[in-house]
């Protein structure tokens, strides 16, 4: 059965930074919501339903924070629900909103995602995701196991430190042209390689910043979109798959839920040659090594081809498949919002509204997101044309 088309008709994000002391969490969310509504030229009254997405509540110590945010979303007496799914929660929230529209529950849905990481103990909060009896003694946030698997990928797939450093150079360079980015400082491969090891091979400049930030997206049915804009971005496919953590045969060399999500979304959007068919990609790279891994998982190159791909310059702004023209997570990393920011950036690319980091003529964009302990993975395809 075919699913009804859903459009992105407005996007907005905050100016991200390490500490947004000028606003509360509610004020931060409000900034993104107002910008998204302005972009769509809509008001609160036009919104039927709100989906809130954020990282674990321990990040900011307000339980069920959507109850607090209802007022800044202008949603009194409307449907409001919160979806949470670790770091990829922004895309999980967009998927819930997309189903509300495609499933006939609402015509226009506001999806808002945020985290205000300056107000909590981040790595402590992340460490609490491990099993309380068996996992926490040796858990140090998310970095420890990410480093271990990168090390394994070095041997099996050739994901060298130099290749990852090139990702840092590219994304940190791209962030210079993004007005909302938090970190705007160019780096060289040498500087990345010489930066302080945090959990080797992960070094300081392989790691994104910790940011306060929010993003909002307005989704609309085909009928509603027609009366809002003549240039919507169409969601041509979106999926979010999981992998149980306790499988002894689980492979982290290539992510299985990512492969399943990509296959499902590519099938729906008619993508058979991702490298050729996508004009641009926005992917959520919590560390540089993940971007290399995703090149392969998303089919932008063969398994083991990631180091060659980044070295070729193909994923740079002047390449044939620019990845993270916004600067990605290395430019700003308000965790709960980052996946929705990727979707919003993709929508702006295919509607020609990406400003200084616009990829000329972009019509089809790839979006990737992930969360949990690398076991929740989402993929979306956004296009100027619908399926």
């Amino acid at each position: 059965m075919s699913t009804p088309n859903v459009a992105i008709v407005g996007t907005g994000q905050t100016h991200h930074s390490r500490r947004r002391t000028d606003v509360s969490t509610a004020g931060l969310v409000r900034e993104a919501v107002v910008r998204a509504l302005d972009d769509a030229q809509l008001t609160f009254d036009d919104i039927d339903s709100v989906v809130v997405a954020s990282g674990p509540v321990l990040f900011a110590a307000v339980n069920q924070p959507e109850k607090w945010l209802v007022d800044v979303c202008g949603a009194r007496l409307k449907p409001v629900v919160r979806v949470t799914s670790g770091g990829g929660t922004g895309l999980a929230g967009a998927l819930a909103g997309m189903n509300q529209v495609a499933g006939g529950f609402a015509e226009r849905v506001l999806v808002v995602a945020y985290d205000k990481l300056s107000e909590g103990a981040l790595q402590y909060s992340i460490s609490s995701l491990y099993d309380p009896f068996w996992g926490r003694e040796f858990a140090v946030g998310i970095m420890g196991f990410a480093a271990a698997y990168w090390r394994a990928r070095m041997d099996t797939l050739g994901h060298t430190e130099e290749a990852a450093a090139m990702v840092a150079v590219k994304n940190r360079g791209n962030a210079l042209r993004n007005p909302y980015a938090h970190v705007k400082k160019p780096v060289t491969v040498e500087e990345v390689l010489e930066s302080k090891p945090l959990a080797w091979p992960i070094k300081l400049l392989d790691v994104p910043p910790i940011s306060d930030g929010a993003c909002a997206v307005v989704l609309a049915s085909e009928r509603a979109a027609a009366s809002i804009t003549d240039r919507p971005a169409w969601i041509r496919g979106m999926s979010y798959y999981s992998e149980a953590d306790n499988g002894p045969d689980r492979s982290m060399i290539q992510s299985e839920p990512l492969a399943i999500a990509a296959q499902r979304v590519y099938q729906k959007a008619g993508i058979t040659n991702p490298r050729r068919q996508f004009d641009v990609a926005e992917i959520q790279e919590p560390y540089t090594c993940f971007e290399l891994s995703y090149y392969e998982g998303l089919g932008l190159c063969r398994p083991g081809g990631a180091a060659e791909l980044i070295a070729s310059g193909a994923t740079g702004m002047e390449g044939d498949i620019p990845v993270n023209p916004s600067g990605g997570c290395l430019g700003a990393n308000p965790i709960g919002a980052t996946a929705l920011i990727r979707l919003a950036e993709a929508a702006r690319q295919v509607t020609g509204k990406a400003g200084d980091h616009q990829v000329a003529g972009a019509e089809t964009a790839l979006v990737q997101a992930g969360g949990g302990w690398a076991n929740l993975r989402g993929v979306a395809v956004v296009g100027a044309e619908k399926n």
């Binding site: 109850k67 449907p79 799914s85 499933g103 995701l129 049915s221 999926s239």
Partner: protein, 370 residues
């Protein structure tokens, strides 16, 4: 898109663990996998037939960030689409239904659970209060229920005697419900305090499916005919007290979709309030009684049966309470519960979230004429 063009979705099976004050010998994953296994065993479906899992639980109650991550195996979600709705499980069901009506899936597994016996339940509630102004003055679910009760009585509604009747009636019915383990008679309310719900440990799983699958796998599909949800503003001091406009808005949305003109003609209602005054206000907001007169529904003679399962007051598994109501109502309509009201063909299901009933979700159900 009009509601009539949407695919029909049915509850085809559901199951729960026994709801009891504490399950000290079982972990979260044990409760969850028990409910999931029983729900699938009660249908002609296998886990391979399930397209997606939407689950409901609380990181705060579980003492664990992204707690769904640790339970994916028990949830049956491995290599499936999964999302966590961090609200009462009835909202997880709402998400699941839209995933089927959108045409992107045929069969969904909806799961909710809580284990408050291992947590500080008071902290679960007070951390929901806005941190700058509401928390310092001690606003929590008990205080909110008290304010509601005062306003309810000031507007001409009944007081402590009516609350005691609501509690007694629900305990009586829960005692006849094999899914609920009571510790004895309802605890005496503190002097002047509103009776609150009794927190319990437990899990519930509900299998939903698109019409053609539903008709293949069960002789008794329970059709979801309407859904509505609405959230009130956060600041309790600015909310209407003694009544629940958000519950009314949610009910009207559900009734409109279901084409229900007079909800009092529905066979039964299962409510998910966290206090006795809350239950009365919910029944009134659902349009089943005039404001201040919800207690009349307990006196017999009315058409609609209120909480045949015992409802949420004797057994409140926090994040699972509304989904338990959906499970209970579905089992009654399908003729699979001993406490089914004779001749019941339709139901209203209610779930709530937040302090003082800030958020509400309403489902309407019906079965084919026999």
């Amino acid at each position: 898109m009009s509601a009539t063009e949407l695919p029909r979705v049915a509850v085809v099976s559901s199951a729960q663990t026994e709801l009891r004050a504490a399950w000290p010998s079982l972990q979260h994953v044990d409760l969850i996998s028990t409910a999931v296994t029983r729900a699938l065993a009660g249908s002609a479906l296998r886990i391979e037939d399930v397209d997606f899992v939407i689950d409901s639980g609380s990181d705060v109650l579980d003492g664990r960030s992204i707690s769904n991550c640790g339970f994916l195996g028990a949830l049956g979600a491995h290599h499936k689409e999964e999302s966590r709705v961090e609200e009462d499980g009835l909202w997880a069901a709402l998400y699941g239904v839209t995933k089927i009506t959108s045409g992107s899936a045929d069969v969904g597994l909806i799961v909710a659970y809580s284990k408050p016996s291992e947590s500080d339940l008071a902290a679960f509630y007070w951390t929901q209060a806005e941190p700058f102004y509401a928390r310092p003055v001690g606003l929590d679910h008990r205080a909110a229920a008290g304010f509601h009760a005062q306003a309810y009585q000031a507007a001409g509604g009944p007081g402590a005697d009516a609350f005691a009747t609501v509690v007694a009636r629900n305990w009586e019915r829960a005692a006849a419900n094999p899914a609920v383990a009571l510790d004895g008679p309802p605890p005496a309310a503190d002097d002047g305090a509103v009776p609150m719900s009794r927190p319990v440990d437990g899990a519930v799983a509900v299998v939903i499916a698109v019409e053609d699958v539903a008709r293949r796998v069960t002789p008794d599909p329970v059709w979801i005919t309407g859904m509505g949800t609405a959230m009130d503003q956060h600041t309790f001091a600015r909310r209407k007290r003694g009544a629940l406009p958000a519950c009314r808005a949610a009910a009207q949305m559900a009734y409109r979709r279901a084409g229900i003109d007079d909800p009092r003609r529905v066979s039964l209602v299962e409510t998910g309030a966290d206090s006795a005054v809350g239950e009365l206000m919910v029944l009134e907001a659902l349009g089943l009684a005039e404001p201040g007169r919800g207690i009349e529904l307990y006196n017999g003679g009315e058409h609609i049966a209120v909480n045949p399962s015992g409802g949420s007051l004797p057994a409140d598994p926090v994040m699972a309470t509304g989904l338990v109501r959906l499970s209970e109502a579905s089992r009654q309509l399908a003729g699979r519960a001993p406490h089914r009201p004779a001749g019941a063909t339709s139901a209203i299901v209610h779930g709530a979230g937040g302090i003082g009933g800030q958020n509400h979700c309403v489902f309407t159900l019906e079965v084919d004429p026999r």
